[in-house]
Amino acid sequence: MKTKHGPSLSSRITRFVGIFLLFFFAAVFALPLYWMIRTALMDDALVFSIPVRWVPDPAVWENFVTVFQRMDLAKYIRNTVFSSVMPVIGVLFSCPFIAYSLTKVPWKGGKIIFPIILFTMMIPWQVTQIPMYSIWAKLGLTDSFVPLILPTFFGSGYYIYLCRQYMKSLPNSVIEAARIDGAGDLRILYTIVYPMCKSTLTTIAVLVFIAHWNDLNGPLLYLQSSSKYTLSIGLQQFRKADNPEWPLLMAASTVFTVPLIALFFFAQQYFLNGISTTSGLK
């Protein structure tokens, strides 16, 4: 905008092309989402009609009722919520604990532990998956939520890392002052450090929740009986069992998606924070 004679012709063309492409890509990215909702509201018989019907007319809202009856969706939702919320609690319990030891307690161990944490993040889960499965099987804990939840209470490298990055930036003077006043470290962590880390902890909670809401591999290995299925497995099994009934599948997929989109709109800043923190841009 520093030019004296207003935008030149070439910059006006650039601007037009830019706006055009923005709308073009917006349409491309939105269409599959529209396709999902459109199919979810469609009569099963009309899905395969040619030419393609773009607007579900009449809109069959009953699909959402049917899918709850046919798929036991309510149970899957309960299981998914349980197996996503418990890890959030686990991670929020363990990771600040460990990050505190790494950043706010002056001891030798911290310097040894942190590089090990970074190294463990490189080990693909496929390596530990087989031995862990045989361990849980020997303990008789397969076909339960324990293998999906318990490990989160012992910290997870990635979230410890996020937590540590933020805690490191907190001033040590506050903590030292509290120590001189005789506060124990547990109290310092819960009354001083926790409130200061609120935004980072919320970001972590959101990331953990989404990761577990999405997870297919864990439930695939450990949840064998259908009463324990999460949405990932339930959806996969439903598709397997029948010929694809696209309206019902799309209705179930919509139900599966909506909570995450709602979460996104409530906690948008934490999503965006989390992404740029993890990429090392912050």
Binding site: L33, S94, I180, S232, T257, L260
Partner: protein, 321 residues
């Protein structure tokens, strides 16, 4: 309470003793706070990794056998044609999926980084939404979008007189189908690129504009060099995640290949390394063999991650401001 006593005593000349007492106390506290991680590290990392390496030298099958077979698994892997098939498929999605995904993510970020346009947050949300669709749901959606006769994509292609292929049953197109879905879900990369673009100092562009550089020239001479550390980081991260390609492939392959459950899809065209590993371990119970595959995967990933670390180190040093 203890610390009070030590702090008060410190000026009395017994400084050295109290310092070491303090230090011992800190060591105890540090250990206490780190103990969940130490327990977790032993139980969920050290022991399983050790077991995986041990298993990889045995014919363990989860039930009865666990005999030491030396390098037999590794030799068998070398002679297993499905391994080579799966490696080929994995390389295919890595070599096509990575550049395509990164180019689209960067292009979207560039469009969102335009100045003097209103409603950018709305577009940003729209581009990000697909990433929020859970991976199994989004796989279901794309199996429908890419349906040969009634799918969205082939309908749109039909408008332009292009006969769309049978994405899900033609072995030539199945991997492309997965890549199309992954590109649709590139929102995370887009956000990262957007953050990188916004950190490029405005003055660079103003100077270039005064010198008469056009938008294309500005992109190649200013934007690209300034965000190159982010690009390098993203490319290597994307490659690593492609080595571990599993969930989408599992859903697509097991639903398009009704004949043998979690197979590799039509003509094993979607048999990726980690899908094959899963099949060996949990459908054929060849735990020893699968462990050897996992160990090889770990070596590949650790080498690649070491490269990421090297590049991210570089990006920390490379500070445009």
């Amino acid at each position: 309470m203890k610390s009070n006593v030590i702090v008060e005593r410190a000026p009395d000349g017994s400084a050295r003793l109290s310092v070491s007492a303090r230090q011992r106390r800190f060591n105890r506290i540090g250990l206490m706070f780190a103990s969940p991680w130490i327990i977790g590290f032993l139980c969920f990392t050290i022991v399983p990794v050790g077991m995986a390496i041990y298993y990889s030298f045995t014919n363990y099958d989860l039930f009865s056998r666990q005999d030491w077979v030396w390098f037999q698994n590794y030799v068998d892997i070398f002679h297993d044609r499905y391994i080579w098939k799966s490696l080929g498929n994995t390389m295919y999605v890595t070599l096509i999926g990575t550049p395509l995904g990164q180019v689209v993510a960067l292009a979207l970020a560039l469009l969102l980084n335009q100045r003097r346009i209103k409603g950018i947050p709305v577009f940003r949300t729209l581009f990000y939404l697909p990433t929020l669709v859970p991976i199994v749901a989004s796989s279901m959606l794309f199996m429908w979008v890419l349906n040969g006769n009634h799918g969205l994509l082939n309908t749109v292609l039909g408008w332009f007189g292009i006969p769309g292929p049978y994405w899900l049953s033609d072995p030539k197109f199945t991997k492309m189908a997965l890549i199309i879905m992954d590109v649709w879900r590139c929102g995370t990369g887009m956000i990262i690129y957007l953050a990188a673009l916004r950190s490029v100092p405005e003055t660079f562009y103003e100077a270039a504009e005064l010198d008469g550089a056009g938008p294309v020239r500005r992109f190649f001479s200013i934007t690209l060099p300034c965000i190159s550390p982010t690009i390098e980081f993203q490319v290597v991260m994307s490659m690593i995640s492609h080595f571990q390609y599993f969930t989408q492939a599992y859903v697509f392959a097991s639903l398009t290949d009704m004949s043998n459950g979690a197979g590799g899809g039509p003509g094993n065209s979607m048999l990726f390394y980690c899908l094959y590993l899963y099949r060996k371990a949990f459908l054929q119970y060849k735990m020893g063999y699968a462990s050897a595959m996992a160990v090889l995967l770990a070596i590949i990933v650790i080498v690649a991650t070491a490269i990421v670390m090297y590049f991210s180190e570089k990006s920390v040093n490379y500070d445009v401001e």
